[in-house]
């Protein structure tokens, strides 16, 4: 695998570690409050809804829709030089949590707000799989 130079998430943060470990296994997991059922994203030591300290990690469907998206034409970070113009999007999952991500498998000009998408795990290094999304192949 060629050297990957773009920013990577920290794998040493105990709070977000379960998310990235699951992503490595190509599973999309979120912290959910066992008391009130609220999905905590970002992961938190207490539930911001009910202040409970316990937590569960649960797998979600990976299906969602694009709340909004943009296309970076200006190069803010040199490591993205080969990608310009690239999209970023805010995807809302069926279960509620939202993620900043990239949409793959579609031309930027074909992206639409509310487009249905499903998770795609991009194995960018041996340790990290980034959580991206692609247009839904069939209606669920």
């Amino acid at each position: 695998m060629p050297e990957y130079k773009k920013p990577l998430p920290s794998l040493n943060n105990p709070r977000t570690k379960p998310f990235w470990e699951a992503a490595k296994q190509h599973e999309l997991m979120f912290q959910r409050c066992p008391e009130c059922g609220y999905y905590r994203n970002p992961p938190a030591p207490r539930c911001p809804e009910c202040l409970a300290v316990n937590d569960d990690w649960v797998q979600v469907s990976g299906r969602g829709k694009i709340w909004s998206f943009n296309v970076y034409h200006h190069l803010f970070s040199k490591t993205f030089e080969a990608e310009i113009p690239y999209n970023t999007a805010l995807v809302e999952l069926e279960e509620g949590p939202r993620l900043i991500t990239n949409i793959v498998g579609v031309r930027n000009e074909d992206l639409r707000v509310e487009m249905p998408v499903e998770v795609y795990f991009d194995d960018v290094t041996d340790e990290v799989s980034l959580v991206k999304f692609k247009p839904m192949t069939q209606s669920a």
Binding site: P7, P9, W67, S68, F69, N70, H73, H74, P85, R98
Partner: protein, 376 residues
Amino acid sequence: MAVAELQKLRNRVAIAGIGTTPQGVFPEKDGNDEAADAFCLALEDSGLTKDDVDGLITCKSYGGLGIDTQMAALLGLNPRYSATLDYGTCNFSVHLAAMVIASGFADVVACMYGTNQRSNRNFFNQGGDDGAPYGFVNIGGPASLALRRHMYEYGTTEEQMSAIAVTFRQHALLNPIAYMKTPITKEDYLNSRYIVAPLRLFDMCLITDGGSCLILSSAERARDMKKPPVYIMGMAENTGLRYFQNDAQLMRPFISEVAERIYPAAGVSQKDIDVLYIQDPTSVWPLQMLEWYGFCGMGEGGQFIQNGRIGLGGELPLNTNGGQLSESYMWGWLHIPEAVRQLRGEAGPRQVEGAEIAQYCSTMAFHKAASTILRR
């Protein structure tokens, strides 16, 4: 209850002096040097000496500067009250100063901000752990998501959006301290490159080095000073601090509660505002805030800004200084000084005839909102 208490502050505190430095590239100065320059200009404007200042509110700036301990030492002050706010836009600092004066902690408060962010090339581009791996960096990231969603929900167009950048540039041409001096047309806007689509080059602010300072006192005391006082009619704030990457953050509905409180607090309505200021690191801020403050209906912002309405000579002149898009970024610290100039009748070729009441609306990124209504 809350509004009744805010009403008691009406016209009790005034802005007695303003100071703004040249805006540009000044690598020989750091942020504190710039704030000190602005302080001296504000003293001169108010006719006070530094020994009259017994309150100091500084605003943190790039590189760990802008702290009250540093500034007080630099200016040789031992104020009775001092504080440092971690964020700009000027509104939050002015509100704290008004509370300090109204409660008797100090009589004359200087609020200041200085930066050399341009010379140091610190443009807030780093992004967080949740965004940087995907290339989601710069304020243009969330701002463009919000604009795209606004376009989707309300049909706002790029052509409509051009009115903000083009109008502010026209204003900047009349402002001696404005940094951007090249006129732009709607066509220039529509032909300009995208930074983060749908945001174009002219939708994004420019960063410069500079400083700004306001001196506030009780209304009574301000009446004895060199310049006519500009009274604080109303103030209100609200936060959306817990929201994270959702409608409630990016579309900023929490702003509406500021509108609900500030007009009753000031005893005026939107129709009474002669000249309006909206913080504009990107053109999305004016679009959203015109709607949340009720100058037009939700989703009508794109239409509202057409046909010269927000320009000089229009029904609601907006950002007569050129705003952050064309005057200078300065974290929103130049809008209130411009409002003061307008209300004093000192705005020269960009003077809004007979301006009596001005309003400034700002947000700290997507997290907090504040507004101030001023009158002469």
